[in-house]
Amino acid sequence: MANLSGRARRKNTYDAIVVGSGITGGIAAKELTQKGLKTLVLERGPMVLHQQDYPTAMTAPWETKYPQGQLPPAELAAKYPVQRRTNYTMTEYTQHLFVRDDENPYVEENRFDWIRGYHVGGRSLTWGRQSYRHSPIDFEANAREGIGVDWPIRYEELAPWYDHVERFIGVSGQAEGLPQLPDGHYQPPMEMNCVEKAFKAKSEARFPERRITMGRAAHLTDPTEEQMSLGRTKCQYRNLCIRGCPFGAYYSSNSGGLVAAERTGNLVIRPGSIVTSLIYDEKSGKATGVRILDATTRQEEEFYADVVFLCASAFNSAWIMMNSTSSRFPNGFGNGSDQLGRNVMDHHLGVGASGEAPEFADKYYSGRRPNGIYVPRFRNLGDAATKRNDYLRGFGYQGGASRQGWDRDLGKHDSGSSGFGAERKAALSQAGPWTIGLGGFGEILPYEDNRVTLNRETRDAYGLPTLSINVTIRENEIAMRRDMQTAAAEMLEAAGFKNVKGRDGGYAPGLGIHEMGTARMGRDPKTSVLNAHNQVHECKNVYVTDGAAMTSASCVNPSLTYMALTARAVDHAVQARKRGDL
């Protein structure tokens, strides 16, 4: 398509373009518009309006079309062969918030579970909401151990932006004073239940270095005036978050960043806009905007801006860059380092331990807490006591205790007890035994050959190139998993729980739904794609601030760090633009 000129071009020109409206796109939009930039947010999927587009948010168990809201196996196999792999994301309640795999193909050179949603808000609507800061040791680890490349920033540089983001989104949690998990600005923590409190007391007595704290989660427990002014209210303890929260109690772009951006009058959001490439101007050495494919009309269109933020998710931002070739960038936009698409990381999980709690049979809880307990990393913290000789880095545990529900004997007709009758009915109508579980989230190291590549042969429903994905875990992760299982069982046993079972249920890359690293930040343009401000080394008016930017993964849930990097990068971009440096 020819370049627009004159009036048409002016109509499609903004101060800034944000590609993607998920967890980072929402923050980019909010920060840019609040700093006065006319901002266009391009989202490839349809609009999801806060509250009115959460059709299942109030659906009662008896109002589902299918048993327990589970989609028919034939439909899952035909439309959602990948999205179903988590076993929890793809249901009648959430179907509209995840992609159809048959329309969004990719090639799995090794199994990779790419779980995603294409709509306004992206995965900020369905995320796990756990919100932790990377620590100083996370930012230093690559340099100290000679792994990958050094982060071009340190914790202290990001700390004020963690503050900034936490204050805006609202995070409930408990300050613990641990160097490996820096404290932030927290609303009151959610409450541990009886069994969790007992676990904390007994396990910490035996393993004092393994602190047990309440999960730090982006749920409002004591909303600020700013949050209330956006229409958000405190958590109602429904635990139906993944359907969209009509109370705006957990943070999403839809209830937070995009609302704040909208109120500035500086936001234009264009759903159904699949960004296919960046437009590069050889003369100025800058990106002048982006090309899109309109998902409805299938027409191409161009939009222009002084600065472009790629917030499309690690894989899709990399895809856009790989698909943006020119004589300056024959191998992909800003890819002089050949690092674009490489160093894919996730968090490996699915390993831990569980047990039964014989005490507290006379205790119960009310409300459904959308959060659990957290055990911050306690391995390889830089001292001799925590040093492991079998692997680098570490892991944290997420877990919790609860009483089993009415479904506790489904599929378990091997106990000899009758599966029918009044006695069983009466038993299932009462709270079941307490159980407790811990599941590890482990750091994956950056490996250059864990990569996504542009696949021009396999095309999606729009005829666009797709990705081939080849990611595996290695010896370091496998050794870590053994420890993750053993240490979890040790803690549960130390607390006196019965029938403690360690378990490694296996992990396929992607299942952490934390894919990152495809355009890493670094100090040297020869070995990294982005600089210390998330600018593409080779084209400074393009910023990439989603998971693509990550130089290492830490073991903590990454969204808070993406958001902090985004807010920091916007601040840089706005100042650079004012100075005329972009």
């Binding site: 409450e191 109602q236 409300g367 009415w406 009044a422 709270a431």
Partner: protein, 191 residues
């Protein structure tokens, strides 16, 4: 559950002259016949009548409603029509057919015409069979445990099951982590 004569009398009536023995005696004492109160899609009327009885044996009416009152047979019919793969649905239908055949062989009457005691004995045999089948070939599913599970799911996710047998609170508003069980009572319907 063995005292649910009224229901069984009524059911005996619906099968009319085919009933023998206990059912005939029941017939003599029975009130008006409750016809099938719903129209099955995936089941035949006979299978639906049988399911009405079996569901209520799996989750009987006690101090809280039973499976039939909670609409579980309709729930299962719906699941067979729009959820299960054909081979799974066929397996369940074949199980229902078998129950009637076994009842005929053992007692010379359709399942719903048997005495509650006879019905429960047959179910107990299926239950044991299901346990043994699972022990031998864990991958193979026996129709009866599958039916027990389906009735259980249907019941506890029904409005009556969730709100009367269990407790359902759509908007708790707060979380209290350590409360005397006696302050709460029945189990929560959702987690």
């Amino acid at each position: 559950m063995l005292n649910r004569r009224d229901t069984l009398r009524g059911l005996a009536l619906t099968i009319g002259v085919g009933a023998t023995g206990w059912a005939e005696r029941a017939l003599a004492a029975a009130g008006p016949a409750p016809a099938l109160t719903w129209s099955p899609t995936a089941l035949s009327p006979d299978q639906a009548r049988l399911l009405d009885v079996v569901a209520d044996l799996i989750i009987p009416k006690t101090d809280t409603p039973g499976a039939r009152e909670a609409g579980v047979p309709q729930f299962i019919d719906r699941a067979l029509a729009n959820y299960y793969e054909k081979d799974q649905a066929d397996k369940l239908r074949a199980g229902l057919t078998r129950m009637d055949a076994d009842a005929q062989i053992a007692h010379g009457a359709a399942f719903i015409a048997l005495t509650p005691q006879q019905q429960v004995e047959l179910l107990a045999a299926y239950d044991r069979e299901g346990v043994e089948a699972k022990a031998q070939t864990p991958s193979q599913s026996h129709f009866f445990p599958a039916l027990e599970d389906l009735v259980t799911v249907g019941y506890f996710t029904s409005e009556l099951g969730a709100t009367v047998a269990l407790q359902y609170d759509p908007v708790p508003g707060a979380y209290h982590g350590c409360v005397p069980l006696s302050d709460i009572g029945r189990a929560w319907a959702t987690r």
